[in-house]
Symmetry: C2
Subunit: 139 residues, 2 copies
């Protein structure tokens, strides 16, 4: 893999490093365009893909049909809000022993696990309660 320096790629990495909310390619595009008004979506995709391949970032497929990108490449858990779609990190020790347990029940080579939790984020679960209390006749 022979890389050359590129200001666009730098900018993409830099932007991603400032965000903890695992933005999509489109969000990256919208933001990097502030510094590089002529950058194309294709370039953003190409660089995100490349960075993920060389292990500098992580591509997150959480099942909402859009790829999210994470500057943090260490194994950790994610939470996905079923209502607003927000993605956040979970501070919870990563259960490597689960991978180990899986290995003992499988013929083949298990290399890792991908886990994410889903439900309603703080904001959305609060909204749900508000909604019930104000909209329903009896609460």
């Amino acid at each position: 893999m022979n890389l050359k320096h590129s200001k666009q790629r730098d900018s993409i990495k830099k932007f991603l490093s400032t965000r903890k909310d695992h933005p999509t390619a489109d969000i990256v595009y919208l933001n990097v365009r502030k510094s590089f008004p002529n950058i194309s979506l294709g370039t953003v995709y190409r660089n995100l893909t490349l960075l993920a391949e060389i292990g500098e970032i992580t591509r997150l497929r959480i099942g909402d049909g859009v790829d999210h990108f994470d500057y943090d490449t260490s194994p950790h858990y994610h939470f996905v809000c079923s209502e607003c779609g927000s993605v956040s990190d979970l501070r919870l020790p990563f259960a490597e022993d689960l991978t180990e347990a899986a290995r003992n029940n499988f013929n083949g080579r298990i290399e890792g696990q991908i886990t994410y939790f889903y439900g309603h984020c703080e904001n959305c679960s609060r909204k749900a309660v508000d909604f019930q209390c104000s909209e329903l006749p009896v609460c």
Copy 2:
């Protein structure tokens, strides 16, 4: 939700119930077409989506860009082969306590977890060894 009977939907459910390999919509389409030559991909997608919504089947998004469908709706683990893309069930007790642990570290409502393991399936890991032994000068 007001449902009416449909032979196509029955056939889709029946086919899915015979398979443990979590087929994609396309595979379902190809197979159901044996009984219903005029069925359309759209109908297959509509029914798979509907069945998933009413909880009769599970939609699996394992991150390969294609949805897989599972007749088994009970919580269980899946394995995905990084090489051939095959998906299989893992016989391993589902760690509900991990969900519980996550709840204690999160402000908001966690409703569940989705976990899948990845690596090389029995076939592919064997092939890898064969390849090495036959192709490399020294093994």
